[in-house]
């Protein structure tokens, strides 16, 4: 070999080495966790397609987000790796998070009861947990935790959204019907708070039970439950959904139903036609042919997207940088609901529009024009900085 040839070989191998050095991408793992026997996914429940309930496990939506993010990952030199783990019980899930040194970012699909359990038992310091399916108000207020980010709206946000609609329509007299479950009571309480805030009058409040027993007709007969006082609408809090399905058209007077049936405050809706929503819905329906994208799917999808966005903004995959970018008001997350989204720095709740929908149509996007907030109009939904009881 001549000297020049030697030099060529040297240069080429140098280029090759430096190329492999550049190409070597960093990995960022994102773990999706759920429970094998989650009663919310009981087939009979899913069959009824109850509004505001999950219609299937949201893992598929996270996979769509992962796919959407591949190109950004390539450009940033970062592999966003999605892993999923299912557990028999919440204790095992908790210890997985606490004993794991491989991951620090989790997307968890847990009911309010299970998420509360996790909330009390996270001992690990540097973790980022996304809650995609519990709307519990306490987890955003008294029991908040800076390690948990909420991409699903709180009950407070959902009932404020309904309240704005009632004010707009001037339907201010409401009968409130609530079920016996803890979440029914919380959703109803949340609506009462929204009503008080906005000047909506609850003319009557009644408890219902799911039963055919004639001796309990005062509580199980919808006509008897819904008729005494002059009212414009009936607000129903039935988070289980089995009673609520039969409330419309069984009332004494012809009045619309809102709350958990009829006009419901949704995080996402398959019939939403603006802001790129049809494209996202169609990506979802290509992957999952049996059902349409739900609010839980949306929350799971945007959890993954917000991680990618935070990494894009900070150009780092370190825990502290990601947390800082996530809580930055200039996160500028594209939520496909119009406007850019960000997390509330006081309780890690994703601020976002709520879609008031029937089972097959979007009736109103909230915040409704005219409900103004001094910082961001989306903060008219839920507890803002002045009202929050969360202290990190």
């Amino acid at each position: 070999m001549t000297k020049i040839e030697n030099l060529k070989v040297l240069i080429i191998s140098f280029i090759l080495i430096s190329l492999t050095f550049i190409v070597q991408a960093k990995d960022l793992k994102i773990a999706y966790l759920d429970l094998t026997d989650d009663p919310r996914y009981d087939e009979n429940l899913i069959y009824a397609r109850i509004q505001l309930k999950p219609t299937g496990r949201p893992l598929i939506a996270v996979k769509i987000a992962e796919e959407e993010s591949k190109m950004m990952g390539d450009a940033l030199g970062i592999n966003f790796i999605l892993e999923n783990f299912s557990f028999d019980n919440i204790d095992n899930l908790n210890s997985f998070i606490n004993k794991n040194d491989e991951n620090f970012i989790y997307i968890v699909d847990l009911s309010s009861a299970d998420l509360k359990n996790l909330n009390q038992n996270i001992s690990k310091e540097e973790v980022i947990i996304f809650n995609v399916s519990s709307s519990d108000n306490l987890l955003r207020n008294e029991n908040c935790n800076k390690k948990i980010f909420h991409t699903i709206p709180s009950y407070n946000m959902l009932t404020d959204s309904l309240g704005q609609f009632l004010i707009k329509k001037n339907w201010k007299k409401v009968i409130l019907l609530k079920g016996p479950h803890e979440e029914d009571i919380q959703f109803a309480q949340s609506f009462k708070n929204s009503s008080k805030k906005m000047g909506i009058q609850i003319v009557e409040e009644k408890d219902f039970i799911l039963s055919n027993d004639p001796r309990e007709r005062e509580q199980n007969n919808i006509a008897l439950l819904s008729g005494d006082k002059k009212h414009d609408v009936i607000f129903l809090s039935d988070t289980e959904g089995e009673f609520g399905r039969y409330v419309p058209y069984n009332t004494k007077l012809p009045r619309p139903i809102i709350g958990t049936t009829g006009l419901t405050p949704e995080t996402w809706h398959w019939s939403f036609e603006r802001h790129g929503a049809p494209q996202l819905n169609s990506r979802f329906e290509k992957k999952e042919t049996n059902r349409r994208m739900s609010g839980y799917d949306y929350a799971a999808w945007i959890s993954f997207k917000s991680i990618v966005k935070a990494v894009k903004n900070t150009r780092s995959i370190l825990y502290e940088d990601i947390v800082k970018a996530l809580t930055d008001k200039n996160l500028r997350l594209d939520g496909f609901k119009g406007g850019s989204l960000s997390f509330r720095e006081w309780n890690n709740q994703l601020r976002q529009p709520i879609l008031l929908s029937t089972h097959n149509a979007l009736i109103e996007k909230t915040p409704i024009k005219g409900f103004l907030h001094e910082i961001n109009d989306m903060d008219t939904l839920g507890k803002d900085l002045k009202e929050t009881k969360c202290k990190f």
Binding site: G276, Q279, G339
Partner: protein, 329 residues
């Protein structure tokens, strides 16, 4: 003899003149064309009276409009029928249809007009459509929801935005591969080149910015922000933009902030904000650069601006969800 030659010359000149005038009269009608996404039509507006003189029914969901080079035909991307309709400007009728990939949104011709580069929103690719064959010859995968497309004048480079991936793909037009991905702001939409093609401007709808790319090295040289009086940052959602021929002024729609920004292209400073209709999107400049037409997607109208004093002449109702506006001049 000389007389005869002179006569011949006169005749030739005369004939030439006739050809020239007739050619001119078949074009430059000044007509304004607006695509309506939801009422599936292209509206034709008279440039003098501003009245609608015709509604041309198209395939479903017409969006982007592009001229061929002599402006004898107007091409209309129809997103829900996966088709490009072709309108003959003389008859104002649809004379041809070209199949595209799923959900065509924005497209451009290659400079030799043999190809159409079309962003296919649904299958996340840039389709390369051969006009002679009338079929998609090739496609280049892009990030999800590709939108804006533009080619360099030499035809060697194609630029495409991906709304979901927050980036601009730089595509080698001969070899059809992505040369580079340039990370920009949130939900990048449309492009404009400065006349010397040294700078490529791209609107980022959700971060409310214009990102300026140096075309020599594909690095970002500047990011501009906008804020018309009385609006908040999150209302500013820029989409359509156009530059004057001199390269001194840029007109930019600000979406839900319901304004047009007039920008000094060289100093990169906002000179003026003009109030238009609701969710202003595409903009079109007349050839004399005296008027600007703006399609307002949420108020279903087109606003006409007098650029001598930056005031609105009129807003004309056009139909449901106007998307793009172009002018035959």
């Amino acid at each position: 003899m000389i007389n005869l030659i002179l006569n011949k010359v006169t005749a030739v000149v005369f004939i030439f003149f006739i050809i020239l005038t007739s050619a001119v009269s078949s074009k430059d009608t000044g007509l304004i064309f607006v695509s309506n996404e939801k009422s599936h039509e292209v509206m034709v507006i008279d440039p003098d009276t501003y009245e609608i003189i015709k509604s041309i029914k198209t395939s479903k969901r017409p969006r982007d409009l592009e001229w061929n080079s002599d402006k004898s035909k107007l091409y209309v991307a129809c997103g829900d029928d996966d088709i490009i309709d072709v309108i003959d400007i003389e008859t104002l009728e649809i004379v041809d249809q070209i199949d595209t990939g799923p959900s065509p949104e924005v497209f451009v011709f290659s400079p030799d007009e043999k190809l159409i580069y079309v962003s296919n929103e649904e299958d996340s690719s840039l389709g390369i459509l051969d006009l002679e064959e009338g079929i998609i010859m090739n496609s280049v995968p892009t990030g999800a929801e590709p939108e804006g497309v533009i080619t360099s004048k030499d035809g060697k480079t194609i630029y495409v935005t991906s709304e979901v991936a927050d980036m601009v793909h730089v595509i080698n037009a001969d070899e059809l591969f992505v040369e580079k991905n340039i990370i920009v702001g949130t939900r990048p939409r449309r492009f404009a080149f400065t006349p010397d093609e040294k700078e490529l401007w791209v609107t980022a709808e959700l971060s409310g910015e214009v990102w300026i790319i140096d075309t020599s090295n594909h690095e970002i040289i500047d990011v501009m922000k906008f804020l018309p009086p009385g609006f908040r940052e999150e209302d500013v959602t820029p989409v359509g933009l156009t530059m004057n021929k001199e390269g001194t002024l840029t007109y930019l729609s600000l979406g839900r902030a319901n304004h047009i920004a007039v920008v000094d292209t060289i100093k990169r400073e906002v000179l003026d904000y003009i109030l238009v209709g609701s969710r202003a999107w595409e903009v079109a400049l007349t050839r004399d650069e005296e008027k600007l037409f703006v399609a307002n997607g949420l108020s279903d109208d087109v606003t006409i601006i007098n650029l001598k004093n930056n005031t609105v002449i009129k807003s004309i109702p056009v139909g449901r969800v106007p998307h793009t506006v172009v002018i035959d001049d």
